[in-house]
């Protein structure tokens, strides 16, 4: 407890908030009753305390009455605490001497009885006076910033974020786990609603990123761990061995020509094959071959070793080892993307068993000029051109009982695109779409969908398909048209399932390492869904793209730029100010039991085994108070929220 014999001079300002507070609480009475409370020097009420004249009133009174602490009895501190702290600062008062007594959300809004609500308001304000009596001046903790960013994920979101940060003049490291950047977008054929060729618009960005002097690209690499705090992170990146020297590789393909090992090609969604030594696709960045050791027959001459023999450039090195690279960065952008929901989960549609039941990405590859059929629509089972194609929307989406409760957002548009592109290539074919709603919100989106129905005569049937089975070489689709009330059966040559978007593989594990919270569906959780959409609650981490939830390319790109702007704002400062309301340790009381270490969600507390006391990293501490509540000895006391302050507040409330 602060006990320097100096009596505090506290000012109390009670806000009417129009009728929001004054309609229920007798604000004048509250101000009047507080006048004689010990410690209170001045007390008044005003109609809108947050207004310019309201703030001026506070400012003037601080100077006039030499107040050393103020209580604003108004709305929640989340709204205007900062407003009044800065007003107080202008008057020369330490901002940590400003307290907000919430008599709106916690009183007038939830109580109808005027008398009782007024009594409660008085108690709330008195308790804050008690707290203020013991408040001390606090100065923000200053930390330096390492002006280099890490971007996790090399899809369109990650690349855009990297470019936008680098263009602001800061260094960026992009970490991508696959052998090439490009993500899911590079697999798409054409993009809605403009039908731009996906590769044509993405490959220039990929090349730009490799050439940018401020960007360091690390493909075939994964983030192993991140420690530290905002502005000062230490990152360990695992660089997987490619067994091919990127700089020496001449892309002659001779290694792949001689490689005897054939495995499904990931880029073509397993619809074609690649060799164990391969380049994912012709425009891959970096342009180099990669030896996939899991598929390799063996590097010893007795087993195989053919690729090394034929490589004139001597780029192949079987002794390449996994490397751990350490980097220091100040901010991290997480752009880990999405995956498609597994067709196995929808057994009734048979995607797992029938070759001619495809997911959306597989069909993208079939439509793509760089795909397994060179863009000709042929069905996988026998290569025939399918004349009747059924498209099924909401496969795994909007099904809270069995699959995912959310709408995957992009499927309505890409299904319209699929059906349209199919009709462009197979003029006499029939495209039938089963849907439960068509959701085409977005610029030029509904027009695109109407183009599909108007110009291409695509039949949209309203109803969810119950099952798909094979009869001869046809796929029989059982569905319904709820608009005419008919159960229908369609003989299809091929079926395309608009599978739900889902969290990317390995994301929950990675987020656990980064201490970024995820929601029930595995999507990354933003700090505020409306006002802080690209920030994580964990400071210094910014989020963008489909990792946050289903979204299309323009939205993902916009988020990438937004995250880059946030990183830029962080790097524009030479020092960061960290809130000083932390929980230090009173070493004389600390027994070094370590309970607080396990309670701390930010990793701010460590046990000094030699001195047997807890040490606190001031910058990591967010002042949540978990340790203060847990400490059996009372050695963890939060600044301006000590046990002694809390007891005084409780007493004030109980006394009335």
């Amino acid at each position: 407890m602060k006990d320097d014999g100096k009596k505090k001079r506290i000012g109390v300002f009670v806000c009417h908030c129009g009728v929001n507070i004054a309609g229920v609480v007798d604000v004048e009475k509250v101000a009047e009753l507080l006048k004689d409370y010990p410690g209170v020097e001045f007390s008044t009420d005003y109609v809108y305390m947050c207004s310019e004249p309201g703030q001026q009133l506070v400012l003037d009174k601080i100077k006039e009455d030499k107040l050393d602490s103020v209580i604003i009895a108004a709305c929640s501190p989340t709204l205007h605490e900062k407003t009044f702290q800065s007003a107080a600062e202008l008057a020369g008062l330490n901002p940590h001497q400003v307290e907000i007594a919430n008599i709106r959300e916690q009183d007038s809004w939830v109580h109808p009885d005027r008398d009782k609500a007024t009594v409660k308001a008085v108690k709330i304000v008195k308790s804050m006076v008690e707290k203020a009596i013991q408040n001390e001046d606090l100065e923000p903790i200053k930390v330096g910033v390492f002006k280099k960013a890490l971007v996790i994920g090399g899809g369109v979101t990650g690349l855009q974020a990297a470019m936008d940060i680098a263009d602001q003049g800061y260094e960026v490291i992009v970490v991508e786990k696959e052998p090439s950047v490009g993500g899911k977008m590079i697999q798409l054929s054409e993009t809605f609603p403009t039908l731009d060729c996906s590769q044509c618009i993405l490959t220039p960005k990929m090349v730009e990123v490799t050439r940018h002097p401020k960007i360091k690209l690390m493909t075939y690499s994964e983030v192993e761990s991140i420690s530290g705090f905002v502005g000062n992170f230490k990152v360990r990146i695992k660089k997987k061995p490619r067994f091919v020297d990127e700089d020496k590789c001449k892309l002659c393909n001779e290694c792949a020509d001689v490689c005897p090992q054939i495995v499904p090609d990931e880029y073509n969604m397993g619809l074609s094959f690649r060799k164990a030594i391969y380049m994912p696709f012709p425009q891959a960045v970096p342009g180099t071959y990669t030896l996939d050791m899991e598929s390799c027959l063996g590097t010893l001459p007795i087993r195989c070793g053919k690729c090394k023999d034929v490589c004139d450039a001597q780029a192949i090195d079987y002794d390449m080892k996994e490397e751990i690279i350490e980097e220091e960065v100040g901010a991290v952008v997480v752009a880990t993307g999405y995956d498609l929901y597994d067709m196995k989960a929808l057994g009734e549609y048979g995607g797992e068993n029938y070759e001619d039941v495809l997911n959306g990405l597989e069909f993208e590859r079939i439509l793509s000029a760089s795909g397994p059929t060179g863009g000709k629509v042929q069905r996988p089972s026998d290569g025939k051109v399918p004349k009747n194609v059924v498209f099924i929307q909401c496969a795994g989406s909007r099904d809270p009982e069995n699959h995912n409760s959310y709408c995957s957002k992009i499927c309505c548009m890409y299904t319209a695109k699929h059906a349209m592109l199919y009709k462009h290539r197979v003029h006499d074919g029939n495209a039938i779409v089963f849907y439960i709603d068509v959701r085409t919100g977005g610029k030029n989106f509904d027009e695109f969908y109407q183009r599909a129905t108007d110009d291409e005569s695509i039949l949209y049937l309203r109803g969810k398909v119950s099952k798909i089975f094979k009869e001869g070489n046809k796929m029989i689709v059982w569905g319904v048209d709820t608009l005419t009330g008919q159960k229908v059966e369609v003989e299809a040559d091929m079926v395309v399932l608009a599978m739900a978007m889902t969290k990317a593989d390995g994301v929950p594990e990675l987020m656990k390492k980064l201490k970024i919270s995820i929601d029930g569906n595995g999507w990354l959780a933003e700090a505020h869904p409306k006002l802080r959409p690209v920030e994580s609650l964990n400071q210094g981490f910014y989020l963008a793209g489909a990792a946050l939830g289903p979204k299309d390319i323009p939205e993902a790109v916009a988020q990438a730029s937004a995250a880059a702007a946030k990183v830029g704002a962080l790097f524009a400062k030479d020092e960061l100010m960290h809130a000083p309301t932390i929980v230090p340790v009173i070493e004389e009381l600390c027994s070094g039991c370590g309970i607080c270490v396990s309670m701390c969600p930010y990793g701010a507390r460590t046990l000094n085994a030699v001195r047997k006391v807890i040490e606190v990293n001031e910058v990591l501490c967010e002042g949540c108070g978990a340790c203060a509540a847990a400490c059996p000895a009372g050695a963890a006391q939060q600044l301006n929220q000590s046990d002694s302050q809390i007891f005084s507040m409780v007493k004030a409330i109980l006394r009335g």
Binding site: N388, N430, I432, V438, Q450, T453, D454, E456, S457, I458, L459, Y460, L461, R462, W478, D481, L483, T484, Q486, K487, V488, E489, V490, E491
Partner: protein
């Protein structure tokens, strides 16, 4: 009962003929149902106007043949006037009636009109109706 949905040669011929006669494309209809909501005769119909369009989209000519809707349509154009895609549904009904005529699917002649009603109705109306639905 499960209906086999087939859009083969015959179905396409039917759909294309309706499109030709109306100068429109039935697939433009996205089944909002505003025509049915607007139709003053809808409560008497066995297939709602939007369902007629849907059945054309699905090539289900047989289902339309027996429908009362075609005779109940008074060509008042409330449907067309309100259709967000500007589809002339009355014209679609007219086109279907025209297509069904050679198939012996006529609807209405002088014998079908009750004598009392025939007395009350203006001659012009009866002639127009006989012409529209002539045997």
């Amino acid at each position: 009962m499960r209906v086999k949905l087939k859009i083969g040669e015959n179905e396409k011929k039917f759909i294309n003929r309706v499109n030709e006669l109306t100068g429109d494309n039935v697939y433009r209809c996205y089944q909002c149902g505003r025509c049915s909501a607007s139709c003053p005769m809808a409560q008497e119909m066995d297939l709602l106007p939007n369902q007629i369009i849907r059945k054309v989209q699905m090539g289900q000519e047989e289902d339309i043949i027996g429908s009362k809707t075609l005779t109940l349509c008074a060509s008042c154009f409330a449907c067309q006037g309100r259709c967000p895609k500007g589809i002339d549904i009355a014209a679609v009904c007219e086109a279907i009636r025209h297509l069904l005529e050679p198939k012996g699917k006529d609807f209405w002649g002088p014998d079908d009109v009750q004598p009392e009603l025939a007395k009350e109705l203006p001659q012009q109306v009866l002639v127009a109706v006989y012409k529209k639905f002539a045997k």
